[in-house]
């Protein structure tokens, strides 16, 4: 019982910590964006002084910028004055029981094999403090603390580790990097912070799921991961369950800093609400993700499975500054119905003997459009740099589109850059072959698509990979036949 008491105490304290939010549960500041709004956010979050300067600077830069129009996307006009930039996280659950939730959503949860308790959490149903799950979270925190690993919300990091944040924030993504990064820098509400000390190998996959209050980080999320010298961490973002959100616009920023000999593996499964079959609704997802390999022989690896959102604009990139550093990008992007995705990567080779690998697998169905956009840039001093890129597209049906925009700039003669690309249609003869062996068309498509994406799925941590496989199959349901 003592343990339980301890756990209970921690849970209640955990809630108390966010007390200043929950008090003002109905507190949503008026729509619109100006310097006063930014000051208000800064005040409400009780952030250190330097953050006000940071936010205002970003805002002023943003004012001078224009919405990017170079992507192969049709983006409806967004009225940035129609958005409320600060809302306290909801304290009360949306629903009292799972019975009130959209049965279609529950059906998908079941297909994905998500445990009941997690289903409730995801759908926003009141969950009692179930001992098991709480103790998992507690054990988790204790294990990390022993190793000196910091893993907390961004707000918490600003209170407890302001110097670390200050040192590394915007190192990989400068505030004025692009329109959405500037906006995020000005108004971001919360996110995750992670620091792995020198020489420490993080003993478990860090997942936002374990971070209390992770569900309410809002539409402008900020993540900062710092891997000190010789450390290693594998970080998981998102989940396979379909995430609904009342905010249509999402503009997150993720920054990774890898110091000498450090390695960071960042895996994403993105399954925001894609809108209905006619293209109504759905999330607009404008994300800036960039890692910088600062030290020698450091490595950053991005793996993403993108199946959600009405619009995806996202280019997880690596700046290979340290000599012998390595950048990797493995991506599966699936679009169905009216979804649009313009995604890819940038590999900037600055250090000598730097290596990068790009494997992109696009899958288009319905009337969707799916583009790969990538830049491989080798600076003159990046002698002996190597890149290998492979960009494949799979088309289902004849009303969707797949596009590839690879840009290659090589500044010296000792570097080697290779690019391979294929486009194929899902074969009716493949489906029939499966049918003839007793496998239904839907299962066959799931199997064929997963086979096509296997190279990327293999890069995901085991548990995530299994879920991602199911997700690909479900996302294509009804797209053929």
């Amino acid at each position: 019982m003592k343990d339980q008491d301890k756990v209970l105490k921690e849970v209640t304290q955990g809630e108390y910590k966010y007390g200043f939010y929950t008090d003002i549960e109905t507190d949503i500041i008026a729509k619109g964006l100006n310097e006063t709004v930014i000051r208000t956010i800064w005040e409400k979050k009780k952030e250190p002084e330097f953050m006000l300067e940071f936010r205002l600077n970003a805002y002023r830069k943003w004012l001078k910028m224009k919405m990017p129009d170079w992507a192969y996307l049709k983006i409806p006009a967004i009225d940035f004055q129609e958005i409320s930039y600060y809302a306290a996280p909801r304290k009360k659950p949306k629903y009292e029981s799972l019975d009130e939730v959209d049965p279609e959503l529950i059906d998908t949860f079941n297909k994905l094999g998500i445990p009941l308790e997690e289903q409730m959490h995801l759908a926003g149903v009141a969950v009692d403090a179930v001992m098991d799950s709480v103790s998992v979270k507690t054990t988790f925190k204790e294990t990390l603390a022993e190793k000196g690993i910091i893993f907390c919300s961004f707000s918490e990091a600003l209170q407890e580790h302001p110097d670390l944040v200050r040192k590394y924030l915007s190192m990989a993504v400068p505030v004025g990097d692009n329109y959405f990064a500037a906006l995020n820098s000005a108004v971001f509400s919360d996110g995750s912070f992670c620091y792995i000390p020198r020489g420490v190998r993080c003993p478990m996959e860090l997942s936002t799921y374990f971070r209390i209050n992770a569900a309410n980080t809002g539409q402008f999320e900020r993540t900062l991961i710092i891997a000190d010298e010789g450390s290693y961490v594998s970080y998981l973002e998102g989940c396979t369950a379909p995430m609904r959100d009342e905010n249509q616009l999402h503009a997150a920023v993720v920054e990774i800093i890898a110091l000498g000999h450090a390695e960071v593996k960042y895996s994403t499964v993105q399954n925001w609400y894609p809108g209905d079959k006619n293209g109504k609704g759905g999330i607009y997802n404008f994300v800036t993700k960039r890692g910088i390999c600062r030290g020698k022989s450091s490595k950053i690896s991005w793996t993403q499975v993108e199946t959600g959102s009405a619009i995806t604009w996202k280019y997880p990139s690596c700046i290979l500054l340290g000599d012998n550093s390595v950048g990797e990008f493995y991506s599966v992007a699936l679009t169905n119905n009216h979804q649009q995705a313009d995604t890819g990567t940038k590999m900037i080779h600055i250090g000598r003997n730097t290596k990068s690998t790009i494997v992109s697998k696009g899958i288009s169905a319905g009337v969707s459009n799916n583009s790969y956009r990538g830049l491989v840039k080798v600076m003159p001093r990046a002698l002996n740099a190597r890149n290998f890129s492979q960009c494949d597209s799979l088309l289902m049906g004849d009303r969707c589109g797949a596009h590839t925009f690879p840009y290659i700039e090589v500044g010296n003669k000792s570097s080697v850059v290779e690019h391979e690309a294929t486009t194929s249609k899902i074969g009716e003869d493949q489906i029939f072959y499966c049918n003839q062996r007793g496998i239904s068309t839907e299962d066959a498509i799931g199997m064929i698509v997963n086979g096509y994406a296997r190279e990327v799925l293999n890069k995901l941590p085991m548990e995530f990979a299994v879920e991602a496989q199911k997700l690909l199959a479900i996302s294509l349901e009804g797209s053929v036949g």
């Binding site: 072959y433 499966c434 007793g438 496998i439 299962d443 199997m447 086979g451 096509y452």
Partner: protein, 250 residues
Amino acid sequence: MLSIKNLCVSIEGKEILTGINLEVRPGEVHAIMGPNGSGKSTLANVLAGREGYEITSGEITFEGEDLFELSPEERARKGIFLSFQYPVEIPGVPMVTFLKTSVNEHRKFKGEKPLTAGEFLKLMREKKQMVEMDTELTNRSVNEGFSGGEKKKNEIFQMALLEPRLSILDETDSGLDIDALKIVANGVNALKSPGRSTIVITHYQRLLDYIIPDHVHVLYKGKIVKSAGRELALELEEKGYEWIKQENGN
């Protein structure tokens, strides 16, 4: 078991089968021979339920059921197996995943529990021996990088795993050397039982040296123009298809 009555089939308006009649009883082996373009593969594909064929008239019943009411996967689960003339490659899908899914779909249909990974691997080992299937092959993706002969062996291997009621071998002998041909034929013969029937579609008679048919039919211009016992195959081997063509006015 299988009853085909006056089957007429067109592809894009062109008549391919012009009135097929065929009865296959349990335990029987039927050979369907004929020159290229006579409609042999069309018949195989129509039986398996492939799309793109227009059934203009006629009926097919399988174990008393109207075949046209069943989807391709339902036909497969009820025991119709087609050994493909051109087996399809599915990159990235491991053989084991594919085969296990297939076997368990069949089991589910019969109301049996799915096999565990261990049980399945045991079954696979057993059947692999039957067709001398290389483990190296079953570790690959479905048919990927298989030679022509390996693909055909793989078809018979799947047949052995699924133990179908009616097997249709569509030109399984094409592209096989004599050793592979024997292995394939041995596999087919090992599966023979009073409850199972086989339709062997072939251009040449040499496969029929190893798989002994009860009935031989000659398909020409979309019709069965001749049916007899095993001796017909030998006669065809000797005389070629010319005399069939002449007898049928061409």
